[in-house]
């Protein structure tokens, strides 16, 4: 069971800020494919991975990173702080 979080327009497009996901996905990319297959709003949010960033347990990561032991996955657009 992984906590999946969404921020900014990813959150708005999917329509919720976080959810528990039961998955056996090996990598972030596998998880993205599972989510995108669920419903159109997920497919829309994950349509262009180059427009997305991912963090695993609050550290920036690649879409090819493994999910072993990861408790929290977050998807969001490039940051725009400052």
């Amino acid at each position: 069971m992984i906590q999946v979080m969404y921020f900014a327009w990813v959150r708005e497009r999917i329509g919720l800020p976080r959810e528990k996901v039961e998955t056996s996905a090996g990598t972030v990319r596998d998880l993205v494919e599972e989510l995108a297959a669920r419903e159109a709003r997920y497919a829309a949010a994950f349509a262009d991975l180059s427009a997305l960033r991912v963090a695993l347990d609050q550290e920036l990561a690649d879409f090819d990173a493994p999910l072993d032991g990861v408790r929290e996955v977050a998807f969001f657009p490039p940051m725009t702080g400052g």
């Binding site: 921020f7 900014a8 609050q58 657009p77 490039p78 940051m79 702080g81 400052g82």
Partner: protein, 148 residues
């Protein structure tokens, strides 16, 4: 070395003053950067909402700050970043650095800003009369990281 992530505003005056006093006789140079919500070129910005990722934000800022401290001879540093709804002219964030020499204080402040812009989990949304829009990341901001 201080990181604060907060919804309430801050007094840039009081912060800069306290920072300079704290640096005392050790630092010869204190640099501050303050980011202010800018209206759109033609006006009309009603508010800017800043979303962030509680927990990761503090971690990211602390790690950016630690990296700056390891690269330059700083006697002190400060990062404050707000979240929530802001109005044009409001302060969004500030960084401050203190060092014996000005080159270190300037470089560290620019480094903190460059990394904070592109590596700390904040997102800005502009709310105007004609709609709302997430601010897009600028290529220049990503490119700025390559100079360090």
């Amino acid at each position: 070395m201080t990181v604060r992530v907060q919804e309430e505003t801050f007094d840039i005056g009081a912060e800069a003053g306290a920072f300079a006093v704290r640096a005392g006789g050790q630092a010869g140079a204190v640099v501050t950067f303050t980011g202010v919500v800018r209206d759109r070129p033609g006006g009309g910005l009603r508010e800017m909402v800043i979303e962030h990722y509680p927990g990761m934000t503090e971690r990211a800022l602390s790690s950016i700050e630690a990296e700056a401290v390891s690269r330059w001879a700083l006697t002190d540093s400060l990062i404050i970043h707000r979240f929530g709804p802001l109005a044009p002219g409001d302060q969004i964030m500030m960084v401050a650095t203190a060092a014996p020499h000005r080159a270190d204080a300037f470089a560290a402040a620019e480094y903190l800003m460059d990394y904070l812009k592109s590596r700390a989990p904040f997102w800005k949304k502009e709310i105007a009369a004609d709609g709302a829009e997430w601010v897009a990341a600028r290529d220049e901001d990503e490119a700025a990281l390559h100079r360090w």
